[in-house]
Amino acid sequence: MTQDDIYTQLKDIIKIYLPEDVSVDKITLESHLINELNINSSHLVDVVLDVEDAFDIEIKDQELEEMDTVKTAIAIIEKKLNN
């Protein structure tokens, strides 16, 4: 799976949890999930649980803390998939 494939799938998951005042176009590689996309900490957990199901991986607590932007999320998913 390429980074682009991960990005596409991740975007589909994130958009479910975007508040109404944030449009899907705001999702970029650099977007900060909490500060820019306005995802609250509860929905961030939902995003990660959906990511676990979609990619069949397990995310650790520490890794959730590291997932601040779309880019770092992709990097963590990619690392897991290659293991």
């Binding site: 609250n40 900490s41 509860s42 957990v45 990660v48 649980l49 607590d61 520490q62 959730l64």
Partner: protein, 159 residues
Amino acid sequence: MKERLDIIKSELPYSAPFLFVDELVAISNTGAKGIYTFKEDEYFYKGHFKGNPITPGVILIECMAQIGVVCFGIYLIQESFLENKLKDQIAAQKTLGPIKIALASSQIDFYLPVLPGERVEVISEKEYFRFGKLKCKVKMMNAKGELVCKGTISGMIAK
């Protein structure tokens, strides 16, 4: 076990007039059960409704959250310490001090009213407890064993 249930209740960060747990009756890794009797003189009956006291839905949700998510969450956090697994490290780190919690979401359907003096039982079942978030299916039954309300509630350990 009775003692353990009392300890959990004493850890609750609420007091009158906003404590809606009389007794926890059962708790395990999969769920919790507790009871509360709405006193005739609860403060909110004065205004809800004028001359027609009925327990507000938000208070029923609060009661379900205190028993089904907060008491249950305190138990699960204590368990993760006791087992020394510290699987949920976020939970572990954040609860070394006084517990700070926040309601994350609730979706509840209501079926019957609860009148002053009624006793209710709250039954909660875990959907998941991950990354400091506890999501539960919760229902409330009245003393006749009829369904009062049910739905899902989740809470987070706050930073």
